[in-house]
Symmetry: C2
Subunit: 168 residues, 2 copies
DNA sequence: CTTGGAATGTCAACAAGGCTGACATAAATT
DNA sequence: AATTTATGTCAGCCTTGTTGACATTCCAAG
């Protein structure tokens, strides 16, 4: 188009200037701190960390999931996950059952105590998210999700979408 | 209101259901991985980590900033920041000047090499962010920012806003 | 002007949680 | 029977968070 560099084009693409993008980057950085702040506090009290939260969250989301599945979602090594999982199992928050279909697999479930901690963590995190959602309004929330989905890596989007469907 | 639990209310508040919120939480988790993936790869090649990226980013954003200022923004202990800063200074990416007004302070600047790495990192990160922004559209971007701003802790929002103003 | 406290930065040591590599075991598959 | 797959474990490394101890510098109260 002849006037693609004209003022009209500049105006419609203002959200793509380096400055706008940089603001988006910092927004992401600062918001993620807030996003994890409340669970982090609770976890610190119990001697756990963010890694434990992630494991608990995804075991709760899909009870009976296997170690391998969890590895793919969390994107860490089995050694790293194993250390976290071991403490959760030893502390009686997670139950690991030998798979029935394939007995090499371990199916992971939250125990009652694990579910209790999960509720405590997700309540804190949801409260903040809910407040942010309410304050921003429904259309902002839709935009928020659209941008985040476009920002994911393909693999991660697959895991995200699979969940969205299963819970539609 | 009498009909606050009626179907109309349910519909307008659908974005506040536990399910919607949980999707927001997972979107945040998966998107943050994508957000840091590209810089992480570059940094790993050079033997640096995310902490170095953060320091470089904020020194670039406000040249001459003090260590104390950086501490407040990054939300880590001075000892932790110092280690990262030390390697950056030793490697000639950051210059630390004794403050003129107050000689206890150190004013931090990127060297030419530091600025070059900063450009490499921010280009990678901006490219992904720009693609996500373009794909989602301007209204989604506005919503994205509104939700993220509402999600920040007060302190962090202050740091975020201060920057937004200074770069208006 | 001196002295005590506050601010700032550095050094040392430790912990969490990533990583790699090597290896064992059991079960499924070919 | 041999191979592949899923899982677990040991050992060791790195980054990046933490505390504690300490040096330097500034400022303000006496």
């Amino acid at each position: 188009m002849a006037e693609s560099a004209g003022p009209a084009a500049d105006e419609t693409l203002l959200f793509l200037t380096d400055d706008q993008i940089r603001k988006g980057i910092e927004a992401m950085f600062f918001a993620y701190r807030g996003f994890t702040a409340d669970p982090d506090r609770i976890l610190a009290d119990q001697g756990y960390g963010r890694a434990h939260h992630r494991a608990i969250h995804f075991i709760n989301r899909s009870p009976g999931t296997t170690v391998n599945n969890l590895l793919a979602i969390l994107g860490v090594t089995k050694q790293s996950l194993n250390r976290v999982l071991r403490t959760l199992i030893d502390d009686g928050l997670v139950r690991s059952e030998v798979g029935t279909r394939d007995r090499r697999e371990r199916n992971l479930y939250l125990t009652e105590a694990g579910a209790a901690l999960e509720r405590e963590l997700s309540t804190a995190q949801r409260d903040r998210m809910r407040a942010a959602f309410r304050q921003a309004g429904p259309e902002a929330v839709a935009g928020f999700r659209r941008v985040l989905e476009a920002m994911m890596d393909g693999d991660m989007r697959r895991h995200y979408m699979r969940f969205r469907e299963s819970e539609s």
